[in-house]
Symmetry: C2
Subunit: 380 residues, 2 copies
């Protein structure tokens, strides 16, 4: 028997009832039933993001949602400070460059998170920047940035803050209104336990004021069009209404669990994985590790592609490798989505098996024992 | 008992096995399994579109795919002639305007299709246009344009032809290479019998040469990024891999049915609906009716919103109304997707019931009898 367990940092595992809800016979989207569904989804997204602002549902990947957010607010000669310390930070810079949006790149070594002090210094050096774009959880490096402090800074300086919360929202604490985030982006295939295909964008009034300043050189990814339709809980273009149905089921599940419980569950699985890995003699890649995904350095003498191939092929456990210059050097294990304490143990167990298969020296069980200890202490 | 039957011209009904295939446990997209799936989908799309060119799969609605096609080919000062006789023709003009792409609008009355003579005349009058954008099946009016003749014209004049085939591909004959279409766009939620959420774009070498001329002011909707990834049957951003799985099942079904059989089935259902409607004393909206969807004028004394409400609420049959200035004046019944001869009869039957409920004078059964006669003659 082989059972597939998906621990990639997106897509993430999906509850069975959500998959089956999406297999319900398809309906039309210009109906009262759909509008009621989208209204319910929107209100639950507001709860999840911690905002009384708009939460827009866009048919496309998370990158699509992020592009919409960036392009719609960066008209009229505004200039962005882009915090780059990984593949996604880099991507938002590429979006700005593609649309000729003025920007400055603030580079940190991969594995580090951004702190308010560093951002403040960069803003001092670049006084024409009036917008900060930061990735809360940098999926490619498994590092977390201090968005709460950065939000305080941008609010104090009256700047716009755009946060890529794609592997943060629904996994780690993110409080849009309380912290002062102006735009918060997430995607369906992460903590929201859906397949890839929807982007969600939270937009507060400060951000809308920006959107209204200029006219955007885009059509599909124009937040104005979504706002206009959202008055009736409608969408400007044909939405992926099947995933909206799934989102409704997922969001009700999450609401029932409660924000604090969700964050504790993810944090416990992450801590268990980190301490389990260290007990196996492994080291972490990120200096500022995030709880939604863990990046582990591949030890000397271990063939990384073979490791993941064994984990998938022999044990049915799919994790992710590294991207770009850390390809082959790290593995990444997600703790988001439909992942509970026992799944976290399974991922670590499969890693033990596959390492031992390659002759890695360790005491069998050391990893899962350390992880179990953390789980008992944190969730017990 | 109430059974929902969906006859909107998108989304369309989805085969049960396709819905269940999509409810399969989710997998990661950066895997050999996914690449094999996307390769299979791509080869089947080539078959469906009739092209040896690339067929790209984009996560987003059909509008997203169309924007990618238009924006990626209309760099470097090219100018488009946009054929507008309905909501979708209008939309492609709006896309051009949003991206500051030079264009001329060729307007025809709603309900008419475009012919090569009219396009030739417009091109004579606007010698700086070097691209034609035409909607094959204008979903909002149920009218068909003569894309085969327009393609001959654009090929003779060495111009680029971009065809919105969103409610054409997989429903009515469209032969990309044989006719000389350079870009052909479709969406998942029409004849492809999937939910909304994927756009498909066929691109030939002439179109790629255009793409390579300039640099596109866009990121997510940039065909270059998709081409680069498609070499390995990969995608530039996280794809809706669940719908790609569904697409594989659907495309195998369609291939088994065969193109000629698909076109005959849709044409027979359309003809049966048209003749059935006329036998009920109703008239058609489109002067050049297409086979993928039929628009019927609402007769005097009939309350259109109430008619559709009765059809959905009392009979479980969901059709579409008119858009913009024909709202309340027409109803639209789709013949695409998982619709067979008996479904076509059911749609007409429900229309009879709902009209009679409003006191419409007709001989009960006249519509379905006329439709059945057509079905026996065409499919029998």
């Amino acid at each position: 028997m082989k059972k597939l367990r998906l621990f990639t940092p997106g897509p993430c595992m999906i509850p069975e009832d959500v998959m089956l809800a999406m297999a319900h016979p398809i309906d039309h989207h210009r109906t009262a039933d759909f509008r009621a569904m989208l209204q319910d989804v929107t209100e639950h997204l507001q709860w999840l993001m911690g905002t009384s602002g708009n939460c827009l549902t866009i048919t496309g990947s998370g990158t699509c949602g992020a592009e919409a957010a960036i392009v719609s607010t960066m008209t009229s000669g505004h200039k962005a400070l882009i915090c780059r310390a990984g593949k996604f930070g880099e991507r938002w810079g590429k979006v700005c460059d593609a649309f000729n949006i003025p920007n400055v790149k603030y580079e940190l070594e991969w594995g580090l998170g951004f702190k308010s002090e560093g951002v403040a210094k960069m803003l001092d050096d670049n006084p024409d920047c009036d917008t900060v774009i930061v990735t809360h959880s940098e999926t490619s490096t498994a590092a977390v940035s201090d968005v709460q402090a950065i939000a305080k800074l941008t609010r104090d300086r009256d700047m716009l803050l755009i946060v890529d919360g794609i592997t943060a929202v629904g996994a780690i604490p993110v409080k849009m209104d309380e912290w002062g985030i102006d735009i918060l982006i997430t995607g369906s295939q992460k903590a929201l336990m859906l397949p890839p295909g929807l982007g969600f964008v939270g937009v507060n009034d400060r951000a809308w004021a920006r959107v209204d300043e200029g006219s955007t050189t885009t059509f599909y990814n124009n937040l104005k069009a979504y706002r206009k339709s959202m008055g009736n809980f409608d969408t400007p273009y044909t939405p992926n209404n099947v995933f909206v149905r799934g989102a409704q089921v997922v969001l009700h599940r999450l609401k029932e669990e409660g924000l604090e419980n969700i964050w504790s569950r993810v944090a416990a699985c992450a801590k268990a994985t980190r301490q389990g890995a260290e007990a196996m003699g492994l080291s972490l890649f990120a200096k500022d590790p995030v709880d939604s995904v863990t990046a582990i350095n591949v030890p000397d003498g271990i063939d990384e592609p073979k490791l993941r191939k064994t984990m998938r092929g022999k044990y049915g456990v799919q994790i992710a490798g590294g991207q770009d210059h850390i390809k082959g050097k790290v593995i990444r294990i997600g703790h988001m989505g439909y992942v509970d304490r026992f799944d976290a143990l399974a991922a670590l167990s499969a890693l033990e098996f596959a390492l031992i298969d390659q002759g890695y020296k360790m005491e069998p069980g050391a990893g899962v024992a350390a992880a179990q200890k953390v789980l008992v202490e944190t969730l017990g």
